[in-house]
């Protein structure tokens, strides 16, 4: 497989005609989309314009030397604003919304010469783990290895496209595991950074205290490269961390000798599909062979209470974020009649999907006087305890390990049988690191019944480098 670095070299020296390449890529996207529905929008015009510009720059040999993503195709999860390109977060209520501005991450990848090829499909506003909760009128993306099965969610389109499209890196977004879980289902790398490491400016909010934009790639190098471009302080996002940038690529070939990894005891065994575990153990052995030391650790609180804590925080914040969608200024409208209560109710009832409605109900309830302390505030306190428990573990370990998903990618017909709560429970491995704002990485570690399996690596705040170090050691061993 050609690495992105080699590709960029060829673009720079003119070996690849970037315009021709982009045309082909768009055709490929359209072809893939026919069967798999990974893209809500293919930004053909924007992509071709960028390609033409790059072609001229290459000819004139101007401004291209230090471009980290010159000519590289980058897709963005549909919740990430791209100027003048329809950005819906997978919801009918935002159909035809063409943002007047670029998200910080889009601005960054454009500056580095990337070509934005489109907006990837997702659960409506990120509300799901299988990308089946798409908004009204949207198509459900399918697993690249078996189109009867889910590609995971909510960044499902991003993960599937990363697996299927020849050369491309994806911008995903995670609130409760929406980068690593679809990455695991689609057999690609997914890197979710520390909360605040990457600016959320231009990301359509789901849960403001948990949303994180991250990178997804076929290789750990791709994921690290994109992370290098998008991380960093942004004064337009008040929660952006004002700290020195790390160079993630330098961790790629670094030895893992002496690193300590904690195997989360509760993540193996009861409640976890044996098949999902299978290939994780050889992955751990791989790391041990490279000189890392593995030991078991118990993390009861995150596994036992993670789901409840996560969903209470997420739904409370989401229900306020979704209040702005009411048929004024942008997005879906209805005929302007009746009182404001009648009009807003009509717009919202007609355009939100079922899961969005459920989450709005849950969140509105959790914020109500009388319930607020028992649900919303309680969850915020449990979050403190959870962070403390992780911090204690990271005094001893460089990273924690579990399977990324507790099941193999399920069939759509089986998903339909799940109640919403059972659906939520599938996120059991991934919600807690998200609640605690910890960086985490999915590493593809093999196949079971021809379906990919992923290993989840979790590190302390700002220790993305360690994840890359460990991830690349496993990649090397494959």
């Amino acid at each position: 497989m050609e690495s992105v670095h080699d590709f960029i070299k060829k673009v720079k020296n003119g070996e690849i005609d970037i315009v021709e390449h982009t045309y082909k890529l768009i055709e490929e996207c359209k072809e893939i989309n026919k069967e798999y529905n990974y893209l809500n929008t293919i930004s053909e015009e924007l992509a071709l314009n960028s390609a033409s510009e790059i072609k001229i720059q290459v000819k004139q040999n101007k401004n291209i030397k230090n471009k980290k993503l010159l000519g590289v195709a980058v897709s963005a999860k549909d919740a990430i604003c791209v100027r003048d390109v329809e950005t819906t977060a997978g919801s009918k209520i935002l159909q035809s919304y063409r943002p007047l501005f670029d998200a910080f991450v889009i601005q960054r990848v454009k500056e580095e010469g990337a070509i934005i090829i489109g907006k990837t499909s997702q659960d409506e506003f990120g509300f799901g783990g299988f990308s089946v909760n798409v908004g009204k009128g949207f198509k459900i993306p399918k697993n690249p290895f078996d189109s009867e099965r889910s590609c995971g969610g909510s960044s499902g389109g991003a993960a599937g496209l990363t697996q299927k499209l020849s050369s491309h890196i994806a911008l995903g977004e995670s609130t409760g595991g929406s980068i690593v879980e679809p990455a695991s289902f689609c057999g690609v790398y997914g890197l979710c950074p520390t909360y605040g490491r990457v600016s959320r400016y231009g990301l359509i909010d789901f849960s403001n205290s948990m949303d994180k934009i991250g990178s997804m790639g076929k290789t750990i190098e791709d994921a690290a490269l994109l992370m290098n471009v998008i991380s960093g302080y942004d004064k337009k996002d008040s929660t952006s961390l004002n700290i020195k940038n790390d160079d993630y690529e330098k961790y790629l070939k670094k030895s893992v000798k002496g690193m300590k990894i904690g195997i989360i005891k509760e993540a193996f065994g009861a409640g976890v599909d044996r098949e999902a575990e299978n290939n994780v153990c050889p992955g751990i052995e791989e790391l041990e062979e490279e000189g890392a030391k593995a030991e078991e650790i118990s993390l009861e609180l995150p596994i036992k209470y993670g789901i409840a804590t996560y969903y209470m925080i997420a739904a409370s914040e989401a229900s306020t974020n979704l209040a702005k969608f009411c048929g004024m200024r942008y997005g879906a409208v209805e005929k302007l009649e009746g009182s404001f209560n009648e009009y807003f109710t009509k717009v919202r009832s007609n355009n939100f999907g079922d899961e969005a409605k459920r989450r709005i109900m849950l969140g509105t309830f959790a914020r109500m006087a009388g319930y607020r302390d028992a649900f919303y505030l309680k969850a915020m306190k449990v979050r403190t305890l959870m962070i403390n428990e992780y911090k204690k573990a990271f005094k001893k370990f460089d990273a924690l390990i579990s399977p990324t998903a507790s099941i193999l990618p399920p069939k759509f017909e089986d998903i339909e049988k799940l109640t919403p709560l059972q659906h939520y429970m599938i996120d059991i491995m991934t919600v807690s690191p998200n609640v605690a704002g910890l960086p985490h990485l999915n590493v593809p570690v093999g196949f079971e019944k021809n379906l990919p399996i992923g290993m989840l690596l979790i590190a302390d705040h700002l220790q993305e480098g360690k994840l890359i170090q460990l991830g690349s050691a496993i990649e090397k061993g494959k």
Binding site: F101, R200, Y201, D205, N208, D237, S238, T239
Partner: protein
């Protein structure tokens, strides 16, 4: 709950716009282009993907106010989302403060020294402004202008300590004085609005809330109307219901907006798009050091340095512009004379014209010119007052005006004597009456002289001359 004792119980929630260049959470200008929707960005339009960033200056201003109102200052500034749906809301939640207001348990004194307790002072963003093309109830739709959306407000909530519409007006006035002294409020363009809760003894203090009263002159009108409406209802054996009403300033009436069955549930949560701001002791000290002199400081200074009466000092200090004018005038004019003219004549003329000092163009230069002439007896008090009345309408050069209109005081005794002789000759009956013991008759002759001199003589002097001549 407080046990109410007064006949009328009023509490205020006042919103004042801080005088910053930009809005509270985005860098759109707060003034300038008045074209609708010309001062907006993705943040104050509530566009998906936009994020708020707090204006530091607004925090400093709000802190100044908390300190000036003797509030306990919170160790942390935290913003919450107050959720409710309305067409003027950009996000259907307002970024406001809930559990921990920036300031609490403060107070402010009315002009009669009554202390009004302040429950809380907090920061929040303003909604957009609505235009109802055919009136609030009749319009089929609203027009929305987001120029105001996201503007930087402080909300000041009082205890229900105010016992009359007049006290409410005075509270607003005193608050504006503080805001003005602190230089955190644009007295000419800044918006100050109030919601008031009003109840009366006869209804067992059933609480009625009046929304949206703009400016301190309106507050008394609105409350006077509402109090008498409630009293009338009671007289007609109707029950006062707990409800929310709106003030229609044009018609001069309040009308029902909604009957409240339960308190509205705003579902407050912390706004995690923003971070907490630490209000450290160091920051508070820095803000304190930057604080300008307040009215009380001025009073003390005027009494100690300029030796004017405390009563005069208080009236002058109650208005920042007047106080500043006094300080400058007192450098050139005898402070006692200056105080007398500023607090009596200037205030009288302003009141007569229903104007505030900042609304007219009289400055300290005018007052110095005018009072110099008075001090040196170049013009009489009478003439000076008349000049002041004219100055309110339109400023002009006083010295030139006096010369042109020949208003210099007639102080030449021989010239005055000439006018007096004429008056005595023309009014023999009055002279006779006076001699018979009718003291009042003298005033008539003096008046006649004043008329002849067009007020340019001092009555006292004229009086003496006439007495001397008819003896």
């Amino acid at each position: 709950m407080k046990r109410f004792t007064s006949d009328i119980v009023i509490g205020l929630e006042i919103h004042a716009e801080l005088d910053t260049k930009t809005k509270l959470f985005c860098s759109c200008p707060t003034k300038g282009n008045e074209e609708p929707n010309s001062r907006t960005c993705v943040t104050c339009l509530g566009m998906p993907g936009s994020k708020p960033v707090l204006n530091k200056k607004a925090v400093e201003f709000a802190l100044k106010l908390c300190l000036a109102l003797n509030c306990e200052v919170s160790p942390e500034l935290v913003f919450s989302r107050k959720s409710y749906f309305y067409p003027d809301m950009a996000k259907n939640y307002q970024i406001s403060q809930y559990e921990m207001p920036l300031g609490k348990n403060g107070s402010l004194r009315l002009r009669d020294s009554k202390e009004i307790d302040i429950t809380r002072v907090h920061m929040e963003e303003d909604p957009a402004s609505l235009v109802h093309p055919a009136g609030l109830k009749e319009s089929a739709y609203v027009l929305v202008d987001y120029n105001r959306s996201g503007n930087q407000l402080v909300e000041i909530v009082t205890e229900p300590d105010l016992a009359s519409p007049d006290e409410a007006r005075d509270f607003m006035k005193q608050l504006i004085t503080v805001l003005n002294y602190l230089e955190i409020f644009d007295i000419n363009e800044g918006i100050i609005k109030a919601d008031a809760n009003v109840s009366i003894r006869e209804s067992d203090y059933a609480r009625v809330e009046i929304k949206n009263i703009t400016g301190f002159k309106e507050i008394e009108r609105a409350l006077m109307y509402e109090v008498s409406r409630q009293q009338d209802e009671i007289r007609h054996h109707k029950k006062i219901e707990q409800e929310t009403r709106a003030w229609d300033s044009e018609k001069g009436v309040t009308f029902t907006l909604r009957k409240k069955e339960t308190e509205e549930d705003y579902g407050y949560i912390i706004d995690t798009d923003l971070t907490a701001v630490e209000i450290t002791g160091k920051l508070v000290r820095e803000i304190k050091n930057e604080m300008p002199e307040l009215a009380q400081d001025k009073v003390r200074k005027f009494v100690e340095k300029h030796r004017i009466k405390k009563e005069d000092a208080e009236i002058i200090a109650a208005e920042k512009e007047l106080a500043e004018m006094f300080e400058k005038v007192a450098e050139e004019i005898n402070p006692i004379l200056a105080a007398k003219w500023l607090r009596r004549e200037l205030v009288r003329v302003l009141n007569y014209n229903k104007k505030e000092l900042h609304e007219v163009k009289i400055d300290e230069k005018h007052m110095i010119d005018l009072l110099k002439l008075v001090e040196n007896k170049k013009i009489t008090d009478n003439v000076a007052s008349k000049i002041l009345e004219k100055l309110i309408e339109k400023p002009f050069d006083i010295k030139e005006y006096v010369k042109k209109e020949r208003l210099e005081a007639v102080s030449d005794v021989s010239e005055l004597e000439k006018y007096c002789r004429e008056a005595i000759e023309e009014n023999p009956k009055a002279v006779e009456d006076y001699k018979k013991g009718e003291k009042k008759a003298l005033n008539f002759i003096v008046g006649s002289v004043m008329k002849k001199t067009r007020g340019k003589a001092t009555p006292k002097e004229v009086n003496e001359i006439i007495l001397r001549l008819i003896k």
